[in-house]
């Protein structure tokens, strides 16, 4: 098993006719993702990699039962596309776009809450469930293998770096979720932890965090309250990041004393999380503990 995305999950690609979307539609299909339809206004009736393209989400939903949508839609227009998918009953959205306006992100998340849907992102490479042979997004699947580790991460490239080392150490993954690098995102660490806790395949969880925001602190509080029994490991980037500056991710900013790695690590360690100071260290901790 995995969380959120399974081999039976049926998928829509919004903005499917763009160059990047075409490329990754092909990769997702090759990996095993069940993509049933794509949307691009004005391109209805066309095909991309054998996937039928519709003019609207409404039309796609008329012909198919769709569980999830992956949005290859630019930041400026992603709100409308996401609301469209949510209003047609799609329950899992992966929003890749970086630089989504703050108010648009809040509006999307509000609509998702009303409809009990899950938003992954914005500003995420997506997610992958290796045991289920499904990926929603563009993580490079060659580095991901089926196994017992659930991963939730705020950073794409750091995920590839860490997961490739886990895989090399013989530690495969149940599901890897890029929760997104923005200040406002849909699914957060605490929610990801609850999903992994319920998944029998997942035996341990790795959180890949960074400076800024409060996601690590919320995760620490959840674990400290006894809400998570499985072992949790963490790595955080940004120990030496300059204060007050935005470091690439919109979510990665330290304001005065809050949001520092030191503060986050203290809360996580008090909750019993094993925190590696370096990438190599956390991988070694997991290898030693999970016995490979």
């Amino acid at each position: 098993m995995s969380v959120l995305a399974f081999n039976h999950t049926t998928v829509l690609i919004q903005g499917i006719t763009g160059k990047t979307a075409r490329h990754h539609t092909k990769n997702m299909l090759a990996y095993g993702t069940r993509i049933l339809a794509g949307v691009r206004p004005g391109s209805g009736g066309e095909e991309v990699e054998g996937v039928p393209v519709y003019d609207s989400v409404q039309e796609a939903c008329r012909d198919h039962r769709l569980d999830a949508s992956v949005l290859f839609i630019p930041a400026a227009s992603v709100k409308q596309a996401a609301l469209d998918a949510l209003r047609h009953g799609i329950k899992l959205l992966v929003i890749h776009a970086e630089h989504v306006p703050l108010h648009d992100a809040m509006d999307i998340i509000e609509e998702a809450r009303k409809r009990e849907a899950t938003i992954i992102g914005p500003n995420t490479p997506g997610m992958i469930s290796p045991p289920e042979k499904v990926k929603l997004g563009f993580v490079p699947s060659a580095y991901f293998k089926p196994g017992p580790v659930g991963v939730a991460s705020r950073s794409g490239t750091l995920t590839y770096e860490l997961v490739s080392r886990l895989t090399a150490a013989g530690l495969g993954q149940s599901t890897v979720i890029g929760v997104g690098g923005d200040r406002v995102v849909g699914l957060r660490f605490a929610q990801a932890l609850k999903l992994f806790e319920l998944d029998p395949q997942t035996l341990a969880v790795l959180l890949i965090g960074e400076i800024g925001g409060s996601m690590e602190e919320e995760a620490g509080e959840l674990i400290a309250s006894g809400g998570i029994q499985k072992p949790v490991f963490a790595y955080l980037a940004g120990h030496t990041a300059p204060e007050g500056q935005r470091v690439g991710h919109a979510g990665a900013i330290i304001n005065s004393a809050s949001g520092t790695t030191q503060g986050k690590i203290r809360i996580l360690e008090q909750a019993g999380v094993s925190v590696g100071r370096t990438i190599a260290q956390v991988v070694e901790m997991m290898r030693a503990s999970l016995g490979c």
């Binding site: 703050l102 490079p140 950073s155 770096e161 490739s164 409060s214 500056q245 470091v247 990438i279």
Partner: protein, 385 residues
């Protein structure tokens, strides 16, 4: 993007939030004229995007236009928080009988706007509220619905409960209307923060926004092009910021010796950490999504022009990109320029064998391990210095 006070007050005025009479000026003559037209004792407030101007002694009072012009000449051109004072707001002095704090900002954890109010307005509201959290009210809002009638009533009730006697009986209704106007500004301008501190009650008339703070979400700038212009930065810095933004580059200059060229915010921070843990210091870093031949070539120019880059560390984990493209970008640079620093490359992923062959021909031996590359970069610093 934080606006100047005078810009925020112009926006407030358009949205039925009362502000004192004022004029913006950038010259001694302009200040003199402004004070003359206002025809009253005035406050001279430097326009910066920094905090605590008052505490720095930069807010001045003047009774006559001559005095106002004199005050201006004393603060003009001075810097505050690294920012040069280029203009001032000349504003009529207001006699207040009570000061509140009112703001709308974002609760990032819950992804909703939050309305904040306190009957303790003034410079120390944050510290005061921390010491006495009951004096700060927070009401979470629906982004699409904004401040409801009930929520506006609740906030007005809270503020009035701590104000006795009420200076006049319409205050409750006026505060309700004000919270709703404030939210309209927050929404219309894609704000991260809209703050009135202090919100002044006077002997007569509506509550007045004595200060005004508006911070617009950077990702929403394209919806407000009329407001995008240099404020804290020089024209040159501003142009560079816009250029980098267009390219999707994050460039941050630091104090050390090692330049970092990498793709992705998380891994870039992780490299920064590794360098520091191993006794090195970063000179700057550039995080770019454009790890192709041309993108790398262009990125190298930035380091080429940065004199404190003693060693350049390049990292690519090519999941989506290609190592051979990166290698060609580097060899293109080496063909056109004499590199003023040794180049250390960590390369792994798509087409890394091809990339390795290209770089080795140019005399660079790439490392597959990040840790080894970082160690090498630190060692190179010791060699060159």
């Amino acid at each position: 993007m934080r606006l100047f006070e005078y810009e925020a007050k112009e926006i407030f005025s358009k949205h039925n939030i009362s502000v004192p009479r004022s004029r913006y000026a950038e010259s001694q003559q302009g200040v003199f004229e402004a004070a003359r037209i206002l025809n009253a004792p005035v406050v001279i407030k430097p326009q910066t995007t920094t905090k605590a101007r008052g505490k720095a002694g930069l807010i001045r009072f003047a009774d006559t236009p001559q005095e106002a012009a004199q005050c201006f000449s004393e603060i003009m051109g001075r810097t505050h928080g690294g920012e040069i004072i280029r203009g001032v707001l000349v504003e009529e002095k207001v006699k207040t009988c009570k000061e509140f704090f009112l703001a709308v900002t974002v609760d990032y954890t819950n992804a909703v706007p939050v309305l904040l109010g306190s009957p303790l307005g003034g410079v120390d509201v944050e510290a005061d509220a921390k010491g006495n959290p009951r004096m700060l009210k927070k009401i979470r809002l629906s982004p699409s619905e904004g401040v409801t009638q009930g929520q506006a009533f609740e906030m007005a009730d809270f503020l009035c409960a701590h104000t006795s006697p009420l200076p006049w009986h319409h205050l409750h209704e006026e505060l309700q209307e004000l919270t709703r106007s404030l939210y309209r500004v927050f929404r219309a301008y894609d704000c991260e923060l809209v703050e009135i501190n202090p919100l002044a009650l006077t002997e007569q008339g509506p509550p007045l926004a004595l200060d005004a703070l508006i911070t617009i979400d950077d990702e929403s700038q394209f919806r407000h092009p009329e407001l995008v212009r240099p404020r804290a930065q020089s024209q040159e810095e501003f142009a560079r910021e816009q250029e980098f933004k267009k390219r999707g580059w994050t460039y941050i200059p630091l104090e050390g010796e090692i330049g970092i060229l990498s793709s992705g915010a998380g891994i870039t921070m992780a490299i920064l950490d590794l360098i520091h843990f191993n006794g090195g210091k970063a000179a700057n870093f550039l995080d770019t999504a454009q790890m192709d031949r041309k993108g790398i070539y262009d990125a190298f120019q930035i380091f080429h022009k940065s004199p404190n880059t003693k060693v350049l560390l390049v990292n690519i984990f090519a999941g989506l990109n290609r190592c051979d493209e990166l290698a060609l970008g580097i060899t293109d640079y080496l063909r056109d320029f004499k590199a003023p620093f040794p180049i250390v490359v960590r390369m792994i992923g798509n087409k890394d064998q091809e990339g390795r062959a290209i770089l080795e021909e140019a005399g660079i031996k790439p490392f597959p391990s990040l840790e080894e590359a970082v160690a090498k970069a630190i060692e190179e610093v010791r060699c060159v210095s």
